[in-house]
Symmetry: C2
Subunit: 334 residues, 2 copies
C-alpha cells in the first residue's frame, strides 16, 4: 500500500509485453488479442497500477480534468450551488474526468491560467451574469465551455438552464387552473434584478407574459430576505389587493418568512392564499404546509452541462441553448 508509484514499464515487464502494448490495452486505440489483454489487465491489478496523470496529460494533450467555476458571491442560493457541483463531479467521473474547482473571484485570469497551463480541457461555469466579463474570453478560448445560465448574448456559446420563463408561466397556469384571478410574484431581492441576473428576470417575464394568456391579474415584486421586510411586503400586498389569493415565491431564502407572515396575518394556506414556490425540493418539502413547487433541477442541469461539454470535447456540435422544462410538484399549499 502506498509504496512508490508503479509505472507502465513495470506493468509491461510483469506482463512480458512492450510498454506500448499496455498503453493500447488501456486506451483501446489498437486491437490487442484477448490473451494479451488478459495478461496485461492481470498485471495491472496485481501491481495496483494507476497511470500518472501528468505524464498522460503531457503525452496525450488531454488532462482529463474539467474546470468548474463557481460564483461564491452572496445572494446566489448556496445549497443549489452545492447540488450542481455535486452533480457535475459525479457526471464528470462517469466520463473518466475529474473536476478542478475555481472560484469566480479569480475572474478571467484564473480561466486563462488553467487553460494555458493545460490543467483542464474544458470549462463549466455557473451563475453567469447577463453581461459577464468572462464571456468574450470563453468565446475565443480553444478549450470548450458550457455555461449554466444565460448571458445577454449567448452567440457562439453553449448554455444550459432551467427554463425559468416557462417556470413562471407554469406557476401562473397552475394558479389560474385552481381558479385564482389575482396573484403576485415575490421574486429575488431588488439588487439581484439590478445586477441583471438572468434567471430572476426570466421568471418575471414568464410570469408577466402568462398573466394575459390565463386571464388573471397580477404583479411582480422584488422581495428582500429578512422576516420584517417580507412581512411588510406581504402585508402591503394583501391590503392593497383584497382579492389576491395566489402567491408565487421565487426566493428560496424568503419562502419560510412568507409562510410565517401569512400565518401571522391570519391567512391560512392554501384556504385563504395559495402559495407555489420555485425552489429546491427539500425546501418545499420542509415548509409547513409543504409547498407546491417548481423544483430547480440541479442534478439534471449539472449532468446536462457535463454531457454537453464532453460532446464538445469529442468534437460533436452542441446546441447553443438547452432549456430544461420545469416540473411542477403538487403539494399541500395550493
Amino acid at each position: 500500500m502506498s509504496g512508490r508509484t508503479v509505472t507502465i514499464a513495470e506493468v509491461a515487464r510483469h506482463a512480458g509485453v512492450a510498454v506500448s502494448t499496455v498503453s493500447y490495452v488501456l486506451s483501446g486505440k489498437r486491437t490487442i488479442s484477448a490473451d494479451t489483454r488478459r495478461r496485461v489487465l492481470d498485471s495491472i491489478n496485481a501491481l495496483g497500477y494507476h497511470p500518472h496523470a501528468g505524464a498522460r496529460a503531457l503525452a496525450s494533450k488531454r488532462a482529463n480534468v474539467i474546470a468548474l467555476v463557481l460564483p461564491l458571491r452572496a445572494g446566489m442560493h448556496v445549497p443549489v450551488l452545492m447540488r450542481f457541483a455535486s452533480a457535475v463531479v459525479t457526471a464528470a467521473r462517469g466520463y473518466d474526468h475529474d473536476v478542478l474547482l475555481l472560484t469566480a473571484d479569480e475572474g478571467t485570469d484564473g480561466i486563462r491560467r488553467v487553460a494555458a497551463s493545460a490543467l483542464v480541457d474544458a470549462f463549466v461555469l455557473m451563475d453567469v451574469e447577463l453581461d459577464d466579463r468572462r464571456v468574450p474570453l470563453l468565446r475565443d478560448l480553444a478549450e470548450p465551455s458550457v455555461l449554466i445560465g444565460f448571458p445577454a448574448s449567448p452567440a457562439g456559446l453553449t448554455c444550459v438552464d432551467l427554463d425559468f420563463a416557462a417556470a413562471g408561466e407554469r406557476c401562473v397556469a397552475h394558479l389560474a387552473e385552481r381558479g385564482h384571478t389575482q396573484i403576485a410574484l415575490l421574486g429575488a431581492p431588488a439588487v439581484v434584478y439590478e445586477r441583471g441576473t438572468g434567471f430572476a428576470r426570466r421568471t418575471r417575464e414568464g410570469f408577466l407574459a402568462a398573466l394575459t394568456v390565463h386571464h388573471v391579474t397580477g404583479v411582480a415584486l422584488p422581495c428582500e430576505e429578512t422576516f420584517d421586510e417580507v412581512y411588510e411586503t406581504v402585508r402591503t400586498l394583501l391590503t392593497d389587493r383584497p382579492g389576491l389569493s395566489g402567491l408565487v415565491v421565487h426566493n428560496e431564502a424568503a419562502v419560510g418568512h412568507v409562510l410565517s407572515a401569512l400565518r401571522q396575518l391570519g391567512k391560512r394556506v392554501p384556504h385563504d392564499v395559495a402559495v407555489v414556490a420555485i425552489c429546491p425540493d427539500d425546501v418545499a418539502e420542509r415548509a409547513s404546509p409543504p409547498l407546491t413547487s417548481v423544483l430547480i433541477p440541479a442534478e439534471e442541469v449539472g449532468r446536462e452541462a457535463v454531457r454537453l461539454v464532453m460532446d464538445k470535447l469529442a468534437g460533436k456540435p452542441a446546441p447553443q441553448a438547452t432549456l430544461l422544462p420545469p416540473h411542477l410538484a403538487l403539494r399541500a399549499s395550493t
Copy 2:
C-alpha cells in the same frame, strides 16, 4: 490570444538563455543575475507563457494541486460547506495550488485513485465521521492530509475544527450571565447523533458540562427540520418547563422554524425567551430578530486547513489537533 501553447524553450530562445535558466528564474532554486532574470521575465510576459502543468508535475513530482473531499450527503450543513470550499480554494491559490473536487461517494477508491495517479499532492477532507472508513487509508498514505472535523481516533492525523464543546459552553455562559436559569439546547436531527457526527455530540457535551459550572438547569434535545416538528418540540418544551427562558439552537435549517414557532406561541424574543444560535453569520443576521450567535468560522477553518496541509507538504510537523476558539456575536435575540 489562445494561440498554440508557448513552451519554455520558446521563452528561452526569445530571451537568449538556456531552458534551465528560465526554469531557475521561475523556481528561484538557483541564483540568477538581476539582468538575466529581467530579460527572462520580460520574455515570459511578451509571449504569455504559462508552464504546462502536466510536464511540471511529471518532472518535479509535484502537481501543485490539492484534493478537497466534500461530503455532499443529504442533511449536512450545506451552506457552510460552500463557504469552506470557497475558503479552501482561495487559500490554496495563495500557495500557488489549485483544488480538485472529490465527492465522498467515491469513497476510499477516489482518494486512492487521485493519489496514485499523482493528480494531487495532498488532501483536505470535510465532515469526517467519528468512525470513518477513509481514516485508516489516510493514515498510511504517502500524501499528507488534513481533516476538518474529528474522527474517534485522530492519532497520526491532523484535524482542524471549531471548538464545538467550547461553543456549547460559551452559549450556556452567555445565557447564565443574562440571568437565565433554565435553558435548553435544540440540536441536530436525531439521526445525526446516531451517525456519530462529532460536532453535534461535542456541542451537546460542552453544553451539558457547562450547566453545573454555571449553576443553571437545562436539557439537550435533538431537533428535526420541518416546521411542524420544530413547533411541536418547542411547544412541548415550554409547556413542560414553565421556567425555561433561554434556548440554544445548533441547527441551521431549524433556526427559522424555531423563531416562527416562538412567534406563533406568543413568545417574544428576547423578552420571553432568549435565543442564541450556533450557525453561520448570514443566517443569524437574516433572522428576525437577528440572533446572538456563535458563528461557524468557515473561512478561518478552511484557511487553517490549507495552511496545515501546506506545512506538511513542506515537511514541517503539524499538530494533531487544532481547535479554533468560538466567537460570540451579540445581536438582538438575547
